[in-house]
């Protein structure tokens, strides 16, 4: 599991220690489900977000 407290500190986030303690459980739980999904992503799979420039001039 990630060390969320170290990540927060390294990112310069001003999150009080007591609040940080409350974050690790939910983030660990999410990470447990999310991380395995990412492993098999094909490089050509693009994100479901994008610009549609052809419509901007309308």
């Amino acid at each position: 599991m990630k060390d969320w407290k170290t990540i927060a500190k390294a990112g310069g986030m001003d999150i009080p220690a007591a609040d940080l303690d409350r974050l690790t459980g939910p983030l660990d739980s999410l990470e447990e489900t999310f991380r395995p999904l990412v492993k098999d992503l094909a490089p050509e799979l693009e994100p479901a977000i994008g610009m549609r420039l052809e419509e901007e001039g309308e």
């Binding site: 927060a8 999904l37 990412v38 992503l41 799979l45 994100p47 479901a48 309308e58």
Partner: protein
């Protein structure tokens, strides 16, 4: 009384828009469920007088003409503060109308004000730390759900004919289920997000809560359609969404999920939803058991996107942590810790999952599930016990609805029963993209056949 009945009475001159509006304002004054943040009485009475004058002059704007409704307090309304249920915006009033408000008023609706909600639409309790907790009209000790809790409670309490909500991870469908109203989350892009305080740009959907399926469809008719001020707005043609009287679902294929949706489920909820599915079968629909893609994975991907986008939206305000309630602040802190790579990969997974899920629509016309795994928890209750284990109340309430936001699909929640404790139970009808008319027809046919609940008793 429904929108249709009120509209008929208006045209028969049995009642005026002014009288409907004055009666609704009177109900707001007596409201014990804390459903409103701002009441725009003067504006509403003026609009009602204009509506009456127009009808008298032969100008009829359609079924919403003169009908009192209200909007969740994240829709901009010219000259009226939009708080988002938060302290961060102060009493700032927009100098413009959101597209939804503009379209509702163009359709003749009389907007009574701005409804209470979960702080920043980021939660499901509507126990707002600044404007007070919204209470469930069926039992004031219970939560109305959220984040559109004021919308659900005001409609259920009979204060309003319909209300606008927003849905990022279930925030229309959850209060609809908990309060016993109809709630519709349209397809992403069907209803403009312009002028609505964002929570998550790629997950936010705007839609109505109403007393009946046809009333929800009537509101959708008014607000749907392309808006060049919203880059994600669809150019799809807008059909008439209101189901015909006596509409049929004979021959439709209704998917009954074999996996996930009935796991860890309150027995009364399961029984009510299975009963409604059996009713659909008796009406001539084919009920087809189907294996659905990994919904737990959908939910995880949706949560990564929501956490990251919401924290990005709120980043400018996070310098003052005292301006957020503890539950919202915890989520915003979590979102700041999501790496950019995870956000991008979540959006890539989203595309993959959308493709996987779209294959389902070659087998079935719609999917019917419970909306929530249990009826409304009590105000302040943080866990619910399901399947022999305690589950976080927020994650439980969103478990069956959040994934649909990731896919952008339309989904309707309709009431389908009451628990032994007298709390409403909701069922969800989800369909292919831009097939709102189909899921509304299914909902209306079920409603016509008797699936539903009696009106909420006063002063519960």
């Amino acid at each position: 009384m429904t929108i249709r009945e009120a509209a008929d009475d208006l045209r028969a001159r049995k009642v005026s828009a002014g009288e409907l509006t004055a009666a609704a304002l009177h109900r707001i004054e007596r409201d014990t469920h804390n459903t409103f943040i701002t009441v725009t009485a003067e504006h509403a009475l003026r609009r009602a007088r204009e509506a009456d004058a127009e009808l008298a002059a032969g100008r009829d704007r359609g079924p919403l003409h003169g009908i009192p409704i209200a909007v969740k307090d994240l829709f901009a309304m010219r000259g009226v503060r939009t708080t988002g249920g938060s302290r961060i915006h102060g009493d700032q009033a927009a100098g413009y109308d959101s597209t939804v408000v503009a379209r509702l008023e163009a359709a003749g609706a009389v907007i009574l004000g701005k409804l209470n909600m979960h702080e920043l639409a980021y939660g499901i309790t509507s126990a707002n730390p600044y404007f007070g907790a919204v209470r469930n009209p069926w039992n004031a000790k219970h939560s109305p759900g959220g984040s559109s809790g004021g919308s659900g409670a005001a409609v259920a309490a009979g204060i309003l004919y319909a209300a606008m909500g927003s849905d990022t991870g279930g925030s229309i469908r959850i209060p609809a289920a908990f309060c016993g109203t109809v709630g519709l989350k349209p397809t992403y892009g069907r209803v403009s997000r312009y002028g609505v305080l964002p929570l998550s740009y790629s997950l936010d959907h705007m839609g109505p809560l109403a007393r009946t399926v046809r009333d929800a469809a009537t509101v959708l008719n008014a607000i749907a359609g392309h808006d060049r001020r919203d880059d994600t707005s669809s150019r799809r043609a807008v059909p008439d969404f209101v189901p015909r009287d006596g509409c049929s679902i004979r021959g439709l294929s209704i998917g009954f999920p074999l996996n996930f949706y009935f796991d860890r489920m309150d027995a009364d909820v399961e029984s009510a939803v299975r009963g409604a599915i059996a009713r659909a079968e008796s009406l001539g629909a084919e009920v087809k058991p189907v294996a659905v893609p990994d919904i737990a994975a959908l939910n995880a991907v949706a949560r990564v996107i929501l956490l990251a986008e919401a924290s990005a939206v709120m980043e400018p305000y996070l310098g003052d942590r005292t301006k957020f309630g503890p539950d919202v602040l915890a989520l915003l802190d979590q979102g700041r810790l999501i790496p950019a790579t995870d956000y991008v990969n979540a959006q890539r997974l989203r595309r993959k999952m959308q493709r996987e899920f779209s294959a389902l629509w070659t087998e079935i016309d719609c999917l019917i599930t419970p909306t929530t795994p249990s009826p409304a928890p009590q105000i302040g209750q943080t866990t619910v016990r399901l399947g022999g284990r305690d589950e976080d109340a927020r994650l439980s309430a969103t478990r069956l609805v959040r994934g649909i936001n990731l896919l952008g699909l339309p989904a309707l929640s309709i009431p389908c029963g009451l628990s032994p404790a007298g709390l409403p139970i909701g069922m969800q009808i989800a369909g292919p993209a831009f097939e709102e008319a189909l899921i509304l027809r299914i909902g209306a046919a079920l409603e016509d056949s008797g699936v539903g609940i009696p009106p909420c008793p006063p002063n519960s």
